[in-house]
C-alpha cells in the first residue's frame, strides 16, 4: 500500500528581515506567512490521508539596518496549524492547511508581537501510480487479480493560497514587511512530487512553485520555488511503526515587486537539512523534525535562518 506520500519536511521560513522604523527595505514571504510551503511538507511520510495538528517553531536573526555593524534582531515564529489530506477517490486527493501565526521579534530589549489567523491554502492532487507489469504468461488467465503496485508514484498538484491572514500596510512602514501573518495576496501553487515506498525504504520528493499575486497595497512577494527530498526507513513492531527520516529542502525566492518595480535585496535562497521521525500507533501518527540551514543567502544576507522544529499529531483517515 502506501506508495504515495508526500514529503514532510520541516520548515523554512527564513526570512523575515526585520527592520524597524528605520529600515524596511527587505522582506520576503518567508516568515510566518509561508509556513504552508512545500519545503515544510504537505503531509505525512507514510500515509496519504489524515487530519491533524502541527506546531512549527522557527527562529531567525535579522540585521536592522543597511550596514555590516547594524544591530541585529531576533525573530521567533510559532505556527499552529490544522492540516489534512482528504481523499476524493483513489486518484484524487486534497491537502489543506489552516495556520494560526504567533510572531515575535526582539530588538534592543523590546518585544513586538503579531498574531492571528494566517493564510489558508489548499491543493488538489492527482496521483499517478505505477504498477508492476503482469507477466505475459498464457497460463495466467486471471485478469481480475489486482494490479500489483511497483511502489513508485507521481503526484501533480494545483492549489491556491488565500489572503485570510491580515496584511497590515502599517507594518510595511514600521516593521519589516516580511513580519506579517499573511501576504494579503491570492497565490497559485503548482506542485510535482515523486514518491517511492518500498518494504524498507521510502523516498519522497516534491517540487512546488508559488506564483504570488499582488495584494491591495500594490505589493507582491517574490515568486518562490520550494523543493524537498526525504528518505525514510521503517521499523515495525506489533504495536507500532517507527519511521526515521532525513532530508534536504530549500526555497528560492524572487524579488519583491512594489508599485510595479523590483526591490533590491529582496530575493534569496536557502538549503536546509532535516532529520526526524514518525511514530505510528494504530490510527495515530506522531511526528517530529528538526531542521538546520546548510547554506543560505537571504535578502542580501540581511536575514539568517537559525533553526526550525516541528511536531505533529495526525489521525489517519
Amino acid at each position: 500500500m502506501v506508495l504515495s506520500s508526500i514529503t514532510v519536511n520541516a520548515n523554512t521560513c527564513p526570512l523575515c528581515p526585520e527592520n524597524f522604523r528605520t529600515e524596511t527595505f527587505l522582506d520576503c514571504d518567508l516568515c510566518g506567512c509561508s509556513t504552508s510551503s512545500g519545503s515544510f511538507g504537505f503531509g505525512t511520510l507514510s500515509n496519504a490521508n489524515f487530519v491533524g495538528v502541527r506546531y512549527i517553531y522557527q527562529s531567525f536573526e535579522s540585521r536592522n539596518g543597511i550596514f555590516e555593524n547594524s544591530p541585529k534582531s531576533e525573530e521567533t515564529f510559532n505556527t499552529y496549524q490544522i492540516w489534512a489530506q482528504v481523499p476524493i477517490n483513489n486518484k484524487f486527493f486534497i491537502t489543506a492547511n489552516v495556520p494560526y501565526q504567533d510572531l515575535t521579534r526582539r530588538f534592543q530589549g523590546r518585544n513586538e508581537n503579531l498574531n492571528g489567523l494566517g493564510d489558508i491554502s489548499a491543493i488538489g492532487w492527482y496521483k499517478l501510480e505505477f504498477f508492476k507489469r503482469r507477466k505475459l504468461d498464457a497460463s495466467d488467465v486471471n485478469y481480475n487479480s489486482p494490479k500489483e503496485s511497483s511502489g513508485h508514484s507521481l503526484q501533480f498538484g494545483l492549489g491556491i493560497k488565500l489572503p485570510t491572514g491580515k496584511f497590515e500596510e502599517a507594518l510595511t512602514d514600521n516593521v519589516n514587511p516580511g513580519f506579517q501573518v499573511g501576504t494579503g495576496s491570492v497565490d497559485g501553487i503548482f506542485s510535482l512530487g515523486y514518491n517511492y515506498g518500498g518494504d524498507r525504504i521510502g523516498v519522497n520528493t516534491l517540487m512546488s512553485y508559488y506564483l504570488k499575486g499582488e495584494n491591495k497595497n500594490e505589493y507582491q512577494f517574490g515568486n518562490q520555488l520550494s523543493y524537498s527530498v526525504n528518505v525514510y526507513t521503517v521499523f515495525s513492531t506489533d504495536k507500532m511503526n517507527i519511521m526515521p527520516f532525513a532530508g534536504l529542502s530549500g526555497d528560492v525566492y524572487d524579488s519583491i515587486i512594489q508599485y510595479g518595480e523590483t526591490l533590491a535585496d529582496t530575493d534569496g535562497d536557502i538549503l536546509n537539512a532535516s532529520i526526524g521521525s514518525e511514530l505510528a500507533i494504530e490510527k495515530f501518527i506522531f511526528g517530529v523534525s528538526y531542521t538546520l540551514p546548510v547554506n543560505q543567502n537571504l535578502f542580501g544576507d540581511n536575514v539568517e535562518s537559525i533553526q526550525r522544529f516541528s511536531v505533529y499529531v495526525n489521525f489517519a483517515l
Binding site: 528605520t22 524596511t24 555593524n69 497559485g188 506564483l211 499582488e214
Partner: protein
C-alpha cells in the same frame, strides 16, 4: 469526477484572475497634489555605520577618528520620469547635516514638504553654498546664517561658510592622535568649492498627498580621504582650511561620497 474537474477549473480561474497584473495607476491625475519627501542621510565608513570615536583605517597606513561630522546640503531638487525638475524653494533650501542630530539608527532626516506629486527618478543637491546664494549678502541668508554660525559652520561673513567640518584625531606610522581638522568651503568669492551631485533613484519615488516616500542616502566618509584622490595626513591633509590647493581636492572627494542606498514608498 465532475466535481473534481470543477474544483480544478475553479482553482485555475482563481489563479489566472488573481495573478494578472493590472497597472491601473498610470493615468492617475496628480494635478494640484503635493506631498512630502524624507531625505535620510546616513554617514558610513565603507560598509560600516559611522560611529564617533571609532578608529577607521585609511590608505598609507593612516587612521582617524572623528568627534565632529557636519556638512551643508543645499539646492535640493528632484526630476520626474518625464524630465520635469522640481526645485525645493530656494530660501528654505539649505540644511546642515550633523551626525549628532542622528536618530538611534544614525540617520539625519531632512523633511521636504509641498513637493509636487509626481514619479521622481533622480535627485540633485549641492554640497555647501553656491556663489549666487552667497551673493545675496548676509541679509539674504535668512535664518540659515544664524544656524550655520551656531553650528560652527562659518569662518566669518567675508570668508563664508564651511561646507564640511570634520574634527578629530589621526595617526600615521610616526604620529599618534594628532589633531585632524578638515574645514572645506569656498573662500569668499575667490575660491569656489561648491559642487553638486546627481543621483539616480534605485526605485521610483512616488510623491502623493497620502504618501511620504523616503530616500536613504549613504555618505561614505572614507571617500573624503580616499575618494577621487587619495590624500595623506602626512602630506598636510590633516589640517585643511582655506588652502587653494587642498580644499578643491577635498571638495571633489566629498562630492564622490554620496549614494542612494534605497528608497521607501510606503
Amino acid at each position: 469526477m465532475k466535481l473534481i474537474k470543477y474544483t480544478f477549473a475553479l482553482a485555475l480561474c482563481a489563479l489566472i484572475s488573481s495573478c494578472s497584473s493590472d497597472d491601473d495607476n498610470n493615468n492617475e491625475d496628480l494635478t494640484g497634489q503635493t506631498g512630502s519627501v524624507v531625505l535620510k542621510f546616513d554617514n558610513a565608513v565603507g560598509d560600516q555605520d559611522f560611529i564617533f570615536g571609532t578608529t577607521y583605517n585609511k590608505s598609507n597606513n593612516e587612521s582617524f577618528q572623528l568627534s565632529t561630522l557636519k556638512y551643508i546640503i543645499s539646492n535640493v531638487r528632484v526630476k520626474d520620469s518625464e524630465g520635469n525638475t522640481f526645485m525645493f524653494p530656494v530660501e528654505d533650501n539649505a540644511f546642515i547635516i550633523n551626525e549628532e542630530d542622528g536618530n538611534n539608527a544614525g540617520e539625519i532626516w531632512v523633511v521636504l514638504d509641498n513637493i509636487d506629486a509626481a514619479n521622481y527618478t533622480e535627485i540633485t543637491f549641492g554640497i555647501g553654498i553656491d556663489q549666487d546664494r552667497f551673493a545675496l549678502g548676509a541679509e539674504g541668508q535668512g535664518d540659515f546664517l544664524d544656524m550655520a554660525t551656531d553650528e560652527g559652520m562659518m569662518w566669518s561673513w567675508a570668508a563664508g561658510y564651511k561646507f564640511v567640518r570634520f574634527d578629530g584625531t589621526f595617526s600615521t606610522t610616526s604620529l599618534t592622535d594628532e589633531p585632524l581638522n578638515i574645514h572645506m568651503g569656498s573662500v569668499g568669492t575667490s575660491l569656489d568649492n561648491y559642487k553638486e551631485v546627481t543621483l539616480s533613484l534605485p526605485n521610483t519615488v512616488l510623491v502623493r498627498e497620502s504618501k511620504t516616500p523616503e530616500i536613504h542616502i549613504v555618505a561614505d566618509i572614507s571617500k573624503v580621504f580616499d575618494g577621487v584622490t587619495s590624500v595623506n595626513f602626512a602630506d598636510g591633509y590633516d589640517q585643511v582650511h582655506t588652502d587653494a590647493q587642498k580644499t578643491p581636492v577635498i571638495a571633489s572627494n566629498v562630492q564622490s561620497m554620496f549614494m542612494v542606498h534605497h528608497v521607501h514608498n510606503d
